[in-house]
Structures are given as structure tokens and as C-alpha cells.
Subunit: 368 residues, 4 copies
């Protein structure tokens, strides 16, 4: 048993720093000493999910203990964490859709601990079991996870960079490469250049898109977009409903036809159908930001023959994709270090949230 300082959500919109007791790993469980934990909007939201939670779903660290059934890891291994934690045996895992594992996904399971969670009673707060966000709970000095939540780090990479791979980087890159399967030489539009948008942009750059058009209402973000691979930018007007004017500009930049692919990364419900307006007939519109509201859609936007997809987590197969992301980083293609704009101590989580809401960071990371 170890004591572990952690950020704990109360379920009613607040968090506090508490000390947990974490038991030794059983079965295929792994105890990881967290060295860095990424912060994203989902963490903020997780304060209000109606139940106490160990916060954090992005992280990297060092294995300290392993359960008796663990076969691929040893104490001392550096690991990056993923929240797909695939079971490998269900229908969706067999279909290659490990990110929507029918047994372990924290997302398809709804708001309850999924099969991917380590023994609930092995993490205690005030003597009571407490659930870990996304079966990970990375904003904690130690976390107890399933073996399938860990991918070994085999390249030279700071923990703060490793920590962010497992959410926005995978989501952006994977939406391009695994989901939309952007063809080399094609044209791509990216709506919204926040953290995920930048990773869509660099995914498109790595995949060899010939034209990458970033669209945002913030000129500073558009400048940043160029550093990640945007070849062109469109400064949108806040008053441009559904981005219809921006769509005209995009068309004028793509032979009057529209782009081959468009990715929606704004998390603005009204823009759920906007990527359809950006692509040519038979193009692919990809909604990345997880819009879940009811919205009104002009069905003409689907015409003609457009394909609309809505991938979760970049269709991550962590044991396949994370090593590739490590290789692309080592090769110099995948930008990570620069994306970590600022690091914080766990005690500074409040400040980190404030910076995030002010849009001051590409990505903030808590380091331990």
C-alpha cells in the first residue's frame, strides 16, 4: 500500500487535493508512479459528474509494481497511459475498434466504472473505494491500472510529452490516419485550432496532405497552426453562421470544389455540420470534437455523396498506435515538447484550469 496525493473531484463541480491509499496490484494490474499528467477540458467537466472521482485521464510514469499475471511490463519500465484499455476479445476489439471496446470502454459504458478499471477497492479515500476517471485517474502520485492501459516508452521522450500522447495527440492524429484515412497529396480543412485541432493539422502534415487549411476566429491560433503544418489559413468571422462564408473561401482555395477532407474540432454544437460545407462532393467530413447536442441540419449539406464520420479517440489501438507515435516523435515528425506550453505542480491545478479557460496554453501538464 502506498499513500498518494491526488486531485479528487467531488461530483458537484469542485476538486480538492487529497491523499489516497493505493493497494498493491492484483491479477493483470500495474502500479504506476505518475510523472506527468495532461490537463484537458474533460478534466474540468469531470468535477461535475455526480460522484467522487480521482481526476485525470492523460498520464505517463514509471511502473513500480506489477500483478502476477502481467507479462509485458517490469518495474522500472516507463509507460504512457491510454484510456481505451481494450479487452482484445469482444466483437469491437476483434473488428479493430479497440477504442470502443464493449467491455472496457469508459465512454460506451456510460457514467459508471467499466471493465477496464482496476479493482475499485484498491483505491481508497478516507477508507472508502473511489473510482478513477476513465479508469486511469492520472492526477495522482500513484495510479493502479490494468496492464492494457500501459504502453512502454522506448524512445527518448520527456514524461510531460509522453503524458499528452494518450488523449489529444492520439485523437487528432488518429482521426486523420485511422478514421478519415487521409490520402497523401489531398486537401484538408481543419475547423478550430485548439489542442485537438493542432494535432489534426500535424497528423495531416505527416500523412502528406498537399494543402492544409486551418480555420479559426483567433489570428494567434492560426499563426500557431502554421507551426504544426497548416499551409493556408482562413480567419473566420464570429458572425459567420455555420461557417458558410468560410466555406466559400475554402472552395475558392480548392478549385472551387471544396476540400477532400474536413475536420470539425471546435466543440461548438452549431458547427456539427460545418465540415460538410467545406468538402467537395464525395468528400469526407469528420466530427472530432464530440458534439452530443440536438442540432438542426440542412440535409442538403450531405449532398452529394458526402461521408460523415464521428470517430472516438482517433480509433486508437494503443499497442499499435502509441509505439508509432513514439517513432514519429523520435524521427522529428510529431511535435510534442513544444505543445506542452506550461507545467504545474499538482497543487497548482486551479491555476492550470484558469490558464486553460483563458486559452493561454497549447497544453498544460502537471508534473510530479
Amino acid at each position: 500500500m502506498v499513500h498518494s496525493k491526488a486531485a479528487v473531484a467531488d461530483g458537484n463541480g469542485r476538486f480538492s487535493i487529497q491523499t489516497l491509499e493505493v493497494a498493491a496490484p492484483q491479477g493483470d494490474e500495474v502500479l504506476v508512479q505518475i510523472k506527468a499528467a495532461g490537463i484537458c477540458h474533460t478534466d474540468w467537466d469531470s468535477q461535475s459528474w455526480g460522484k467522487p472521482l480521482v481526476m485525470g485521464h492523460e498520464g505517463a510514469g514509471i511502473v513500480t509494481h506489477i500483478g502476477p499475471e502481467v507479462t509485458s511490463l517490469l518495474p522500472g519500465d516507463k509507460v504512457m497511459l491510454n484510456w481505451a484499455i481494450p479487452c482484445h476479445k469482444c466483437f469491437q476489439c476483434q473488428e479493430g475498434n479497440q477504442h470502443i471496446c464493449e467491455v472496457n470502454s469508459p465512454v460506451t459504458a456510460g457514467n459508471k466504472a467499466s471493465g477496464g478499471h482496476a479493482t475499485l477497492s484498491s483505491t481508497l479515500l478516507d477508507g472508502q473505494p473511489i473510482e478513477r476517471a476513465f479508469s486511469l485517474g492520472t492526477m495522482s502520485e500513484y495510479t493502479l491500472v490494468r496492464e492494457a492501459a500501459c504502453v512502454k516508452i522506448t524512445v527518448d521522450m520527456p514524461f510531460s510529452s509522453a503524458a499528452i500522447v494518450g488523449c489529444g495527440v492520439m485523437t487528432g492524429y488518429g482521426s486523420v490516419v485511422n478514421a478519415a484515412k487521409v490520402k497523401t497529396g489531398s486537401s484538408v480543412v481543419v475547423l478550430g485550432t485548439g489542442g485537438v485541432g493542432l494535432n489534426v493539422i500535424q497528423g495531416a502534415r505527416i500523412a502528406g496532405a498537399a494543402k492544409i487549411i486551418a480555420v479559426d476566429i483567433n489570428p494567434l491560433r492560426l499563426e500557431m497552426a502554421k507551426e504544426y503544418g497548416a499551409t493556408d489559413t482562413v480567419l473566420a468571422d464570429k458572425a459567420d453562421k455555420g461557417l458558410m462564408q468560410a466555406a466559400q473561401t475554402v472552395k475558392s482555395m480548392t478549385n472551387g470544389r471544396g476540400a477532400d477532407y474536413a475536420f470539425e474540432c471546435t466543440a461548438i454544437p452549431e458547427l456539427g455540420a460545418a465540415p460538410l460545407a467545406m468538402v467537395r462532393n464525395a468528400g469526407v467530413a469528420c466530427q472530432v470534437s464530440g458534439i452530443e447536442q440536438e442540432i438542426t441540419i440542412d440535409m442538403n449539406l450531405f449532398e452529394w455523396d458526402k461521408v460523415y464520420i464521428n470517430p472516438l479517440y482517433g480509433k486508437a489501438r494503443p499497442q499499435i498506435d502509441f509505439p508509432i507515435l513514439q517513432q514519429l516523435y523520435a524521427k522529428g515528425d510529431l511535435i510534442l515538447d513544444k505543445m506542452v506550453t506550461k507545467t504545474y505542480a499538482l497543487d497548482q491545478l486551479g491555476e492550470a484550469f484558469a490558464d486553460m479557460h483563458a486559452g493561454r496554453n497549447a497544453k498544460g501538464v502537471i508534473v510530479f
Copy 2:
């Protein structure tokens, strides 16, 4: 020049039988003596398109004269007509999307004569040029079309059967085989068992779907659906908003998961998102009926990882697909003859429309 009796729309909701003068073919044009012309809802609508039109977009007949540049047809050839009339050279044709040809499509061109139309001034009504619906105008004893509108009939097939291939049959079969690419052994749901729905069903049967679930509010149509290949049926309730109850029934029939594919063939705008509710995570929802209204969609329906497609005309490549449809008919796999419930003389078009609106026919066909 030939005289040709034809059904002519006045643009204001009415039609009349008139006599046209049709000139000899120029360039790559072909003069076809129509032997049969299918009737569908689009023909009814075409009465109100704000301009006079020679009606009809489904047909088959015999080539009587060819223009000097025609290379693939001779007088006496039997042909079935298509309204894609691809140019073969534009971007979309090169991409394999002949059905949305950037030059010739009557649909992507909007409500004006597209590049696929034969010389406008070669069809005269009262001495004035008149446009042909979908560049075909098949409800006419003779029609002047481009060579690419014709596919030779090389199997033994009645003209009345050949006439219907070029619209609903191609759309249904192609939505399954070309667009959704239904995998052999998979499960398929079809919403709506009208003419196109029945062809989706038989497309799925030919493609080897293991389970084909037909959904309709009309029990008689469900019986008919079985003749075309449905293995299971769900009688939906008219009050079942968005078919959410039917979706539960479908899930119970598909391991609680939902089908691999769902096809919307109802032409009811409110059901535009219904196929999403029928498919499993990462399944394919295909909207076939051409919904073009604004509708409200719960974006949760796209989760998780569902694919939404909206193919036109079954992604027809007529010179590739129509000969295959002929082969499948000759082999006994594709049902056509039985689908032609009733034939009419041109003078009986009014009666034919009445039967269509009353739902009395699988398909009505005018014979000459």
C-alpha cells in the same frame, strides 16, 4: 426528323400529351425509339419544375439512328437508358463518381439543362426547343440522347423490365454494393419497402447478407419484402417517432448490438437520422431516399463511430453496372419482371399516376 407523341409537363403542375418534332442525331447523339418508360414520384414532381419538360427519366428502346461520332451503338441495338450520362473526363468521373459528373449530371447542375443533354433545339414543341427531363425525356415515342445515356441490352429481357433498371433498381442495388459495400454474411436493416427499398433488399440478398430486416408500417409491403429477400420483418407503429421503438426491436434481433448496415428508403424527412439508431457502433447508416429538408438531429445518434453516407443513384457507373445488372437478371438473381406490376399506354399516364399515389403498384411502366 420524326414526329413523337410525348407527355409534356407545363411547369405548373400539369401535363398533356403533345406531339414533338425530333431532329436527326448530331455528333455523339442517338435517336432511340422508346418501347417502355418507368414511372416514379420524380416524374410527378417534374410537372412543377417551373418550365416545360418532356417527361420521363427511365426508359428502354431501340436505336434507330446514330450521330457521326457514335462508336459503340448501331441502329437496331436494344438499349436501356441512364441519366448519369457521364462525361468520363471530369474530376468526379475520374474518381469513379460518374453519377455526380461535374459536367453532365442533371442533379448537381441544379434545375437547368446539363452538359448531358442532346442538342436542345433538336427537340421542338410547337416549333420551340423544349428540354428533356434528366436529359432523357423517356415518356415520348422517340428521344434524342447522348451516346453515354445508352447501355446496350445483351440478354433476353422485356423492355418493360429494362426500363426500370435505370432508376430505382440501380439506386437500390448500387447503394448496397457500390456505396455501403455490404459485406457478405453481415446484417442489414431496410427502412421503407417502397420501390427503392425493395431493390435495396434484393441488393442485400444478392450480396449475401445473412440477415435482412425489413421495417415498414404496412404489413402488405413487409410480405412483399420477403419475396425480394427480407429474412425478418418489423411492423413499425406510425406513432413511433424516429423509429426508436423499431430500433430496439432491431437490436434485439442483432445480438443487442444493432445491425451492421441500415438503409433509409422512406423519403420521410423526420427519418433522416433513423438508420443511425438501427446500427451498431461503427456501423454504416445509408440515406437513400434523398431527404433535403432541414431536420433536427440528436448528435448522440452518430456515436460511436458510425458512418453516415448519402449516395446518389447507387453510385452508378452505367457502362459497368448496367451490364452486371443484366447478368444478374439472366442468372435469376435480380428480380425485375415481377416488379413491373402494371403497364399503361402513354395516354393512360394520368391513371398510372393515380395508381402510384394509391400505392397499388411495385412499379408502373408505360409501354409503346
Copy 3:
């Protein structure tokens, strides 16, 4: 522990009927009472693999006991067996290639017990552990296998039919549907109409191939081919080297161009490249029969743009594919019962081999 009468190969070309002692299942193991075991040429070969073996790699039966980690089966369940026995976690399993599992495949492992084998020491002959062929050893009253070797039978199907699914049926069907991905409406050539060839033919029929041309030197087999779905036949001449004359005939039947797909199912090394001669430019040639010799190939045969594939076991993912094969059987599409030409008692294995070598059976099956 149960006593089990079994056919045992001596490794030097002979077999005998012996009595084994089989221990209770451990871990994820399952004890299956075999009701039927298919016989194929591999069984004959397995007599000469240099070591004693419990023979048989095709089988179906009833679960009698389960190990403590078994989650998907109960005693009394009817099961069909597969020899892929995927681990679900290795690179190839994650890629969807369960049939070449890096841990469990009996084929990629070479001639030694793979990870898919149940505890070796739990099957004893004369007190010594004995290996089971393909980790199954189905020619035995009882066999101890891993859970992943079993797929539950959920439709009404005789055990003798179930027994043959797990080898030639899966290989033939899967080569068409999973490997070559034959498109509905296309043309297919099948070289050799033995057991696997017939299953390729029926796979192509179920997938909706418009033309299925069977090629063989035996006119009786060609007649049988028609029952399984061949639309056309070519009687080849034994003197036709590389089937070059047959290829000309095939071309004349396919617009002078060649078929879209060709499958080699002859097990004649000299014909390894023959399917290339049968297909059109950019067509797919599929070698199904497992040729492993050195052969001379005219590289012109690959031109232009032909694709050559060599799938093992029809790219079987047993837990996905076997239930589909059951559904297709229940639906009447997959022919199984008729394929079992003759059944034998275990004591008649010698006679069964003799019938097989004489070509008297589509498929012989031992029943218990």
C-alpha cells in the same frame, strides 16, 4: 480423467487406434466429447511428421467439462472447433489476422506445439504426453482444447456438418469473402473443384458473383461444381501446361479480358501461377491450395497490375466467421449436409483414407 479411443499417428507414415488418458481441463481449457471429425489430406500427411500425434484437425462435439477461467462456454454446449485458436493480443491478432496469430498458430509456429495447445501432459498415451495435431486432435472420443478453439453451435446443424466447417468450408468461403473480397456482380474462376474448390465456388455464389467458371480435368467434378454454384465450366486437358489453353477459354467467356478473380485450388505446384493467367489486368489471383515448392514463374504473368494473394485458412476470425457460417447454413445459402458424402466409425479410418485417395467423396467424416 477420461479414457479416449483415438487415431494416433506414429510419425513414420502409419496410424493405429489407441486409448488415451485425458485429464480434466485447467485454466481456460475445455474438454470436448467429439461427435464428428472431418478427414482431409492433411490428416494423411500428418502420419509422417516425425513424431507421434493424436490425429484430426476438424471436429465438433459437446462440452463436458470446463476449466476455471472459461467464461463463454458451459458443459452441454455444442461446439465446432477451429485450429486458429487466436490469442487476440499479438500484433497479427490486433491487425485482424487471427489465423496467423503469432502465439498460437500451429502453422506459423512450424512443426512444434504452439501456444494454442492445451497442457501437453494432460493427454497421455502409455503414460507419456502426446501432442494433438493442430492443437486439436479431433479423431479421438475426447479432446482437451483451449476455449478459443471452440465456437458454440447455435443453429440446428448435424455434428457431421459442423465438423467440416472448421477447415475446407472456412478456407474456401473466407478466401472469397475475407481475402479476395469478391465484389458482388463480378466474375470468378476456380481452378480445381475438390473440397476447397467447391467451397470457393459456394462462397462466390453467396457473395453474388455474376459469373463463376469452374475449371477441372474431371467432368464429374464439374457437374458437382454446378450444384455448388458454378455458372460455367471448362473441362481442362491434362496436357494443358500451366492451363494456358484453359486461360484462353476463360478469356473468351469474359469479354476477352479475363476474370476479375481467380482461385487456385488444385494443390498442383506447377499451377501456382495459373490463376494469374486467368484474370484481367488489375485482377486478383488467389492461391488457396498452399503450394510450398520452388516453381518457375514467367513474370509476365503478373502484368499488368495483377494482385497475387495467398491467404491461409480463409483469414478466419473464428468467433466472427463461424457464427456467420452457421447463419448462412440456417438460411439455406451454405451447403454442408450434402457435402458429407460418407460417414465412418473411427475404426474405419483406413477405409476412409482409401475412399479419399480414390476421390470417391466430397468429404468423409468420422462419427462417434
Copy 4:
């Protein structure tokens, strides 16, 4: 009519510089003033094709006159030439295989003028019609070609760079992107780092391959390979039959498994099957160099589940792919200028051939 100095092959292994008379364009023909013509081994070979030929199949220049049916070009347009010259209407063009057009391909047509050739009698030598190599004959001050042989140059690019796009660059890039469809993040082996090999390497780099292993027996070429994108190199031994030792080295660099893709670019017949030895189970082996001899192949190399492809001309669709290559050049991704090691006057063709045979150039180009 213009006079045009040209390199003319005599069909018996020699060439000479002659003056042609070239007539004005008819129909869809275009008269191009050649500014640069690439030189490759095929040009050397073309001296011995048994008939007189205007040499050269790679070129770029300026349109000077157009035929009455030309719609996409005007005099003054800069163009790069392609030898696919697709008809757009045949079966293969409709299938997206314009590079093996059934009407116009100079390759599938065998050694005779194909449908892609401009009017034969419009190019005269000593008053007699003379054929142009690959329907282009670019080693000539002027060439008369079909409109479909021309792609407009719309970016800033030297003619000498434009001239080489239409053969080795397209072949290398297209083999990666269009044929093998290399997935971003995967591993690639390239056997042979001549002109085409370097373009395969840069194609793989642009497509985002994480590991690109170049294999050659020449250490200087391996250094050059790194400039084009190789991440690793293997210096092969000339005595390494079938590159079996190199294959072991490649495996040790790819988790012991083999690469995802291997491209054979050596033009050494004995290495026709070598890429199979380099790839993992279910990997893709691509023969790029056009081996047409009879060779002996150990069929075990195809196991397990390897895919062997043999694309021509990188599956070029010139009007789609050449503009993309222009964009990738303008973006700085596609290296062209540096690849043109040396330029020559037409009179120096003999010297250029000598340099080519000595391996002194990445690529030699004749400039006018």
C-alpha cells in the same frame, strides 16, 4: 509544318540526330515545343525495338498550336507530358486504371503504335511517317501529341524538373501512394536506390512512413537515399543471393517481424521475389522495376498471407496525380531540382547515355 531536330532510333541499336517535319495538330492534338526531355534506360533500350522511332518518353515544354477539339489548353501553356494518355472511357479507365488504358497504353498494346498516338503521318522523316516512342517522342524540338498527354504546369518549376515527373517520379511516388497505399506510420523497405528507388523513398517519406530502410550494394547510393528520406540503410553484399541475409538484417530492424511494405526497384530478375522476404506476414511486396523474365520462386516466400503487386507507372491518373506532384514540389516536399544531376544538349545524347550507364547521374536531362 515545323522542322524539328530529333534523336531517332534506327531499330537496330543505334540513334542519330535527324530533322523531322511535323504537321499542324488535328482534332485533339497539341503541338508542344519541348524544353526538356529526361533520359532513362528505356530510351537506351528503345534503340533496339526493330523499327525507327523518335526517341524519348519524358518531357516538358510549351504548347505552340492546338487542334480544333482541344478544350483544356491554349498556346503558351507550359505542360508536362505523360505516356498513359488515357482514353477515359474504356473498362480500365473507368476502373481508375488509366495507366493500363485498353485503348491508348503504349505498354499493354505491345510493340505497336497505340490509340494514344497522334496522327502517324503528321511526323515525317525523309518524307516517311515515323512513330514516336510511347506516343511522345520527346527528344525532339517539337512533338505532336494528344491533349490527354499534356498536364498544365501551374507552379513555378524548371522545365528540366518538370520533364522527369512523367516517368520515374510518378512511378516511384505512385507505387507507394496509389498502389501499395503505404499507411502513415508504417515501415518500408526499398531494394535498389536508383532513380525509381529514390522516388519510392521520397514517396514513402511524404506518406509519413515511420521507418524507411534503403538496401543497396553501393554505399554512395545509400548516402543519397538518406537525402530523399531513408531513415536506415542496409549495405547488401553482391554475393547475398536473393538478398536473404539483407532480409535478416531488415527483420532485426523491424521487431524481428519484417517490414510492412517492401519495394523492389533493382531491375535484377533474380530479385523478383526478394521483397517477399523483407515483409512481415500479411505485408505487401511491390515489384516496381518491371521484371519480365522467367524466374524460380520458392513459394514459401508468399507465406503467410503476403500480398504481391506489380503496378505499372505508379497507377498514374495524370490529370489527378501530376497536379498533386506539382503541389508537393511547390510545398517543398517533393525533391525534383536536385534530382536532375546534369543537363545536356540534344547533340550530347551519346555522352548522356554514357553517364547513365556509368551511374554518374541521379537523372540526366536534355534541354533545348
